[in-house]
């Protein structure tokens, strides 16, 4: 595989800049499209090599196309991330200082929670301790909507989680900022927010829900992979990749 960048790589990168994040099938389709357009070789199993070539040129710019798993459905995603500033570079032009402070507070809540979620009430309450200009209730609600629209947060029934894109992009930042609190999945070793926890108090390992599903699939009597205690949680189903092509 040549490390030289061609127009197919550049087109792929441009599309990633527009999308921010795409699932594995989306990335494969895009890869194919870019290769066809510029009449270059395309092998589905070479997607990661293709992306490595782009990354080798992006690295001096402190950018990277990084792969990560969705905690929601266990699918692989590719996101274009910025490593220049561990802090929220890409957000600084879109959000005011006090909005960024509230976003950080939301991250605090999510990281320190048991289940990787923060309720809108908790987030609203956390505005009381803001050091920058305090956000009003309506402003906070509006901000949360924007953060969901811009794909930094996800919302379900009034509870907020970090989006896949946010986790992929901010993993190094989160690991650095929350060294003591951060949980790591025992199976895939990535950072874990929404996960199951071993109830043996001397063990307490964490496993992502999708990793739980894959690891315990087909086992009748699930046991913790670390301490061999009985795994008392409900084992979720393995979710299949949705094949519907959504743009």
């Amino acid at each position: 595989m040549s490390r030289q960048m061609g127009d197919s790589h550049r087109r792929f990168l441009q599309a990633m800049m527009g999308r921010g994040i795409t699932d594995e099938q989306g990335a494969l389709r895009l890869y194919q499209h870019c290769c066809e357009t510029h009449k270059t070789q395309c092998a589905p199993d070479k997607l990661d090599d293709f992306i490595d070539t782009i990354n080798s040129k992006l690295q001096p710019m402190f950018m990277q196309i990084r792969k990560g798993m969705s905690e929601d459905n266990g699918q692989q995603y590719y996101a274009l991330v910025n490593m220049a500033e561990t802090e929220i570079t890409r957000m600084t032009s879109d959000y005011a200082d006090n909005e960024l402070e509230l976003f950080r507070k939301t991250m605090d809540l999510i990281v320190s929670s048991e289940n990787g979620k923060a309720s809108s009430t908790e987030i609203l309450n956390s505005t009381d301790s803001m050091t920058s200009k305090k956000l009003k209730k309506s402003e906070t609600e509006h901000l949360l909507n924007r953060l969901v629209n811009d794909k930094w947060l996800c919302e379900k029934h009034g509870e907020y989680t970090l989006s896949t894109r946010c986790i992929i992009e901010m993993e190094p930042y989160i690991r650095a900022m929350y060294q003591d609190q951060v949980k790591v999945c025992h199976i895939c070793h990535n950072i874990a927010f929404q996960c199951q926890i071993c109830e043996n108090p001397t063990c307490g390992i964490k496993i992502h829900n999708p990793c739980v599903a894959r690891y315990f699939k087909g086992r009748t009597e699930p046991h913790c992979p670390a301490c061999d205690d009985f795994w008392p949680h409900e084992i979720p189903e393995v979710r299949r990749p949705h094949t519907k092509s959504r743009r």
Binding site: M5, D7, R10, R11, L13, Q14, M17, H33, T37, K57, L58, Q59, P60, M61, F62, M63, N82, M83, A84, E85, T86, E87, T89, R90, T92, S93, A96, D97, P172, R247
Partner: protein, 268 residues
């Protein structure tokens, strides 16, 4: 990761962190204080810094342009120098040259100066649009589709149209400037403010009109990024007519006097 660590410890970046909140501020008045350094000044300046430092600064400049480009906002030289280049202003031309090379070689983008009096820059796409039949990439994005329609009308009407004509055309497409559109929101704002700031359109007051009237022209970004030949092809398909049948427009789209456009256009 080691890269990242090194970077976040570097003093220049922590400065960058502090100013990043002011990314959006305009630096008009600053330009007076910035004079382009001479070649020999640049040479001398380069001797005082390491090549890693120059690369680092170049990376910051590239990032700055990319952030601005997400909203298609032109970058002013003064603001770039003030917010990013800073103490490296004596080697500014070298940094800009390296940034332009990276845009070209890595991103497939071209760094273009659109205003050489105020020194404003934009990024335009260097890669050809994929589908030769219709500007598909544009039309998959509804807002770009809206813009394409407006640019087409202006072009077909000879380069300048009164605003009423645009609003009436859009109305026929069920896009009403007076109403909130579910896709575009405030259509009037998108057309007369957003597209204008992005330099896709010019929206100018017609002198001596009462009540006040405005006219639309192509903006500089449109000149650089949008191919008139493509528009004509598109019109041909729409009206089932040969592009050549619009004599004036055809001459305009393919004329050699458009050399400047042909060389910089991204959608050749």
């Amino acid at each position: 990761m080691t890269q990242r660590k090194r970077l976040s410890n570097s003093p220049s970046l922590s400065q960058n962190k502090r100013q990043s909140g002011s990314f959006m501020t305009q630096g008009d008045s600053e330009d007076a204080t910035f004079t382009q350094p001479s070649t020999s000044q640049v040479q001398r300046g380069l001797e005082k810094v390491t090549s890693a430092q120059v690369d680092q600064k170049t990376a910051e400049v590239v990032q700055y342009f990319l952030v601005k480009d997400q909203k298609k906002i032109p970058v002013r030289r003064a603001e770039l120098v003030k917010n990013v280049v800073k103490e490296y202003r004596n080697i500014y031309p070298e940094i800009l040259k390296r940034a332009a090379r990276i845009f070209d070689q890595v991103f497939g983008l071209k760094l273009v100066e659109i205003d050489n009096r105020n020194h404003m820059y934009i990024l335009v796409n260097n890669l050809e649009t994929t589908d030769s039949a219709s500007p598909n990439e544009w039309l998959t994005n509804p807002k770009m589709g809206l813009l394409f329609v407006i640019l087409s009308v202006i072009f077909m009407k000879g380069g300048v149209v009164r605003e009423n004509l645009i609003w009436n055309t859009l109305k026929k497409l069920r896009v009403d400037q007076g109403e909130k559109h579910e896709e575009f929101g405030d259509v009037r704002r998108v057309v007369t403010d957003e597209f204008v700031r992005q330099r896709y359109l010019e929206y100018l007051r017609i002198p001596h009109t009462e009540p006040l009237e405005h006219e639309f022209r192509w903006g500089q970004r449109a000149d650089k990024e949008v191919s008139k030949a493509k528009i004509l092809e598109f019109m041909g398909q729409l009206h089932e007519q040969e592009p050549q049948s619009w004599t004036q427009q055809y001459r305009d789209a393919y004329s050699l006097s458009q050399g400047a456009q042909a060389t910089t256009s991204s959608l050749r």
